[in-house]
């Protein structure tokens, strides 16, 4: 076993330290070291998006990032998106529009959609579908899920106005 490295990051806005073997992915660091299990593993090779997080504000698959690479960077996960008492408009829309069934892909979709809406607050259906093509959902057929993302965009645009 290679020696563990001490990693300092900003996690959901708070400073955070953890130890990582170089071979541990950021996903593993989040889930199995920091016990932030909201970020999910679906494929572990960048093809399902369940592990989506924002790294320095950029949408990435945390399974394709090493934990040690997070040194000095900021990470946003679903745990930082909103709380039960103060849901993010995306979370609210996913609930209201039934944008989920089993829920395993939900955190990944939420983080990917957050990145989309940051870049493009009022996406078309096609733009949303393209952006979210890296997130697989096997339950919903995407219909209500895409509607939820579009609705959240509208809500956020109204709030911003």
């Amino acid at each position: 076993m290679a020696k563990k490295t001490h990693v300092e990051t900003t996690l959901n806005g708070e400073p955070r330290e953890f130890l990582a073997e170089p071979r541990q992915s950021l996903l593993e660091s989040l889930r199995d070291v920091m016990f932030l299990t909201g970020t999910k593993e679906g494929c572990n090779d960048g093809n399902c998006g369940a592990c989506s997080v924002l790294l320095d504000g950029v949408l990435v698959n945390s399974c394709c990032v090493l934990g040690v690479e997070a040194q000095g960077r900021s990470i946003e996960t679903v745990e930082g998106l909103g709380t039960a008492d103060n849901l993010h408009p995306l979370q609210q829309a996913f609930l209201e529009e039934t944008g989920m069934q089993c829920g395993i892909c939900t955190p990944g979709f939420l983080m990917a959609a957050k990145a989309l809406l940051q870049k493009n607050p009022n996406p078309s259906e096609d733009e949303a579908r393209l952006w979210l093509a890296g997130n697989l959902c096997r339950c919903t057929g995407y219909d209500k899920l895409i509607r939820a993302v579009l609705k959240a965009g509208q809500v956020m645009a109204k709030e911003a106005a």
């Binding site: 679906g42 039960a84 849901l87 829920g103 395993i104 955190p107 339950c139 219909d143």
Partner: protein
């Protein structure tokens, strides 16, 4: 037997509304705990050693190098497991399973039967060390010849997998017929004579690929032994009791020694109601005295869990000039995988069921070959059978010069008609649905461009009743704790709470709905067969009736009157007020009664275990528009409308969600999904990169039309909704492709390559691409 219909029409207060699910908040905030989110103190991590060969005899396993690796705590092989007490057990789905097969599928004892078959397992301090140790387990194999094509497997002289086998009995027993295949024959009338009467006969051959359920969550389990030899299992499963029962059998334990705690489950679709890792984790935990967690990689999920059958089918159907179907002859080879028990029976039973055809022969085979043991996948067997029949039906309609829906209407079974097995069709809106398709604006909308086509398909599925248990506890403040044993795959805690709210006449918000572990609730069959909202809901309604009766008794006590004098308004007004028959002004509200439970005999609670039989069947239809790129063979789905009769839509958004999700799984099956084994018999596309499930960019919005013909077998008219949506899409797409570019597709998936081949077969292949 109660021959009276269970269904009683009433005004709905809760059913038909679309409340937000409570458990959803945990899911959008990342707080919901799935199987992989279990972290126990001092936990070890397990890893499976898997065969790279599709068929081989295990000659020797040397674990010494693996054991020597620092951090490794135990290595087990098949030899570590006790002999089985029970070779064959009845399975709830009406069939039976060979426990020996289930056990051997978890860890091979002498022979491996597919790429990925488990041969050993290790436990180590972390998953990486476990993986390294697994690679150090040395297995010496005697490589055997293998078969992976159903047509090869039923030939004389084919490689034989098992010297002996217990023939598969998925719903309906097959008979031992061939060295590699059980057989199921269904027949009615005189098929030879039938074809003589036919004016038009279409005969085609089809092949469909092996496909996977594709749940996004892997298989994960964590096992811990207590000092009193009780085993606790945390796992994501469609059926905690099934896991318990299988484990007891494989580990030779009493049922009461095992407690299975169902975690949130990240999709199942039929694939997550059997053990794979659980016995291995339990054995490793026993050997090490520490909790052991095991998780499959995506490649392991695809290689070594239970996909749905690839098939070869020969279909011959005849009709009269006017479109009246007269004869059908089906030869169906369905993969069983490494062990018997694939879905040939439901496939065969659903193939023709929706039509009246007087003369029928169905010759079906449950074919063993060197692929993983097949598991149910959403309406198991029906999708394959529907694809092959509905495309031939479409061709017959065309040859008769009839509209595709008119042809189906002419032949559709209605209530009272007999299925091929003799059973009468219960009331269901077959004609109404087909008419709804025809009347829908989509059916006649302009296609809007070249190389576009519109196809329809119509499908039937059974659905399951089986056992469900529930408990209802009334709290002193009038709120309700509702517990069931049904794994919640898609929001059933809500649909069950809605039925409870309706039955108890209390606000939905007052109900806390949860899924209990196997120590805490009565036996409940898996969440499969579209049964949870139907069967567990049935149990809840019956339990709620018991609660209302007890509440009436409390009211009678408070009023010092006879219980016969107490009425409850729940059925008439939808709200549980208790009224004195002799004095309508004397009333007590549910909550007022709850507040006085303590002084009137203590808490009120009721449980109920039901086994409702009137599943009432499911039907669905699709309209699908596609555009085909004739240069590349690529098919784009432009518009899709799904129709389904659900009896009563408890939560219409969830019903629509089932229809949309099933439709997109069906579209993946139609266009892009399929196992691809290389020449060595190894699964080449064992990743979500190359096992191509539809992305959001591959499908349009899925429009839904919900029809409601009450199911007489359920008090609220509910029928299962989860499975049939996957059945018609492949046929609808195939029929649309034909309308677009004039080729009849006879393979699944209808990948660009397959469509291109079909176009070349029709128009000729360019000389420059031909391989010498």
């Amino acid at each position: 037997m109660n021959m009276e219909p269970e269904y009683k029409p009433r005004k709905w207060r809760v059913l038909g509304t679309t409340p937000v699910r409570r458990d959803g908040i945990d899911k959008v905030t990342g707080q919901a705990k799935f199987g992989d989110d279990v972290h126990l103190p001092d936990m070890l991590h397990g890893k499976v050693v898997r065969s790279p060969h599709p068929h081989a005899r295990i000659k020797r396993i040397d674990i010494s190098k693996a054991m020597a690796l620092p951090g490794v705590k135990a290595v087990i092989t098949g030899a570590d497991f006790p002999p089985l007490n029970q070779a064959v057990v009845a399975a709830g789905e009406g069939g039976s399973v060979s426990m020996q097969d289930i056990a051997d599928n978890c860890i091979a004892k002498h022979t491996v039967f597919y790429d990925g078959h488990a041969v050993a397992a290790v436990a180590a301090e972390n998953p990486h060390v476990a993986e390294e140790a697994a690679a150090l387990v040395e297995v010496e194999y005697e490589i055997l010849p293998f078969i992976q094509d159903v047509r090869e497997a039923v030939k004389d002289g084919a490689v034989v997998l098992h010297d002996d086998y217990v023939p598969g009995a998925f719903l309906f027993p097959t008979q031992k017929a061939l060295p590699n295949a059980g057989r199921l024959q269904l027949a009615a009338g005189d098929v030879e004579q039938g074809f003589k009467e036919a004016d038009i006969v279409v005969e085609r051959e089809f092949t469909t690929a092996t496909v996977h359920q594709g749940y996004i969550e892997s298989h994960i389990t964590t096992c811990r032994w207590d000092s009193d030899q009780h085993l606790t299992v945390w796992t994501s499963t469609q059926g905690a009791f099934a896991i318990r029962d299988f484990l007891a059998s494989i580990l030779n334990l009493q049922l009461s020694q095992i407690r299975v705690i169902p975690m949130e489950i990240g999709g199942g679709f039929g694939g997550k109601d059997v053990v794979y890792l659980d016995p291995l984790a339990a054995m490793l935990a026993k050997k090490t005295g520490r909790p052991v967690k095991m998780a499959m990689t995506r490649a392991e999920v695809l290689k070594a869990t239970g996909p749905s059958s690839g098939t070869y089918c020969r279909v011959k159907i005849g009709c009269k000039k006017d479109g009246t179907l007269v004869a059908a002859d089906l030869y169906l080879l369905f993969e069983a995988g490494a062990y018997p028990g694939g879905p040939i029976a439901p496939g065969a039973l659903c193939a023709l069921t929706r039509y009246n055809i007087p003369n029928v022969v169905i010759d079906g085979y449950d074919v063993m070959l060197n692929k993983p043991k097949i598991k149910p996948y959403r309406a198991p067997g029906a999708t394959q059978a529907n694809f092959v029949v509905e495309t031939v039906i479409d061709e017959l309609a065309e040859k008769c010069g009839l509209d595709a829906i008119d042809f189906r209407l002419k032949n559709a079974t209605v209530a009272g008609d007999r299925l091929i097995i003799g059973m009468p069709v219960p009331p269901i809106g077959t004609v109404e649905m087909l008419q709804a398709v025809k009347k829908h604006p989509h059916y006649t909308a302009p296609l809007g461009g070249p190389n576009r086509g519109r196809g329809v398909a119509y499908a039937f599925w059974f659905g399951a009743g089986l056992t469900s248990s529930c408990e209802i506890h009334v709290n002193a403040d009038g709120t309700i704790n509702l517990a069931t044993g049904s794994a919640d795959l898609s929001g059933t805690r809500m649909t069950l709470a809605m039925q409870a709210a309706e039955a108890l006449g209390v606000p939905l918000d007052d109900i806390s709905s949860s899924v209990s572990d196997t120590d805490s609730i009565g036996y409940t069959f898996q969440s499969v067969g579209s049964r949870t909202t139907f069967a567990t809901g049935y149990a809840i309604i019956k339990a709620a009736e018991k609660v209302i009766e007890q509440m009436k008794q409390r009211v009678a006590m408070i009023w010092e009157t006879d219980v016969a004098n107490v009425d409850c308004t729940v059925e008439s007004a939808g709200v549980a007020d208790f009224v004195d028959r002799n004095d309508p002004h004397r009333r007590l509200h549910f909550k007022q009664v709850a507040a006085r439970m303590d002084e009137t005999g203590g808490p009120v609670s009721a449980d109920y275990t039901a086994n409702p039989h009137g599943v009432g069947f499911q039907i669905a239809a699709n309209i699908c528009d596609v555009e085909v790129d004739p240069e590349t063979g690529k098919v784009q789905v432009l518009r899709f409308t799904a129709f389904q009769d659900v009896g009563k839509a408890v939560h219409p958004d969830y019903v629509a969600g089932q229809m949309q999700g099933g439709a997109v799984q069906g579209l993946g099956w139609a266009l892009s999904e399929g196992y691809w084994y290389n020449k060595d018999g190894r699964l080449a596309n064992s990743s979500l990169l190359d096992y191509r499930m539809p992305t959001s960019l591959d499908v349009p919005m899925i429009d839904t039309v919900i029809l409601e013909t009450p199911n007489l077998g359920h008090p609220y008219g509910i029928r299962g909704a989860g499975e049939v949506p996957i059945v018609p899409p492949p046929a609808a797409v195939a029929n649309a492709i034909y309308r677009a570019v004039g080729v009849r597709m006879t393979t699944l998936p209808m990948s660009p390559g397959a469509v291109l081949e079909a176009l070349w077969a029709k128009e000729g292949k360019p000389a420059s691409v031909k391989v010498a």
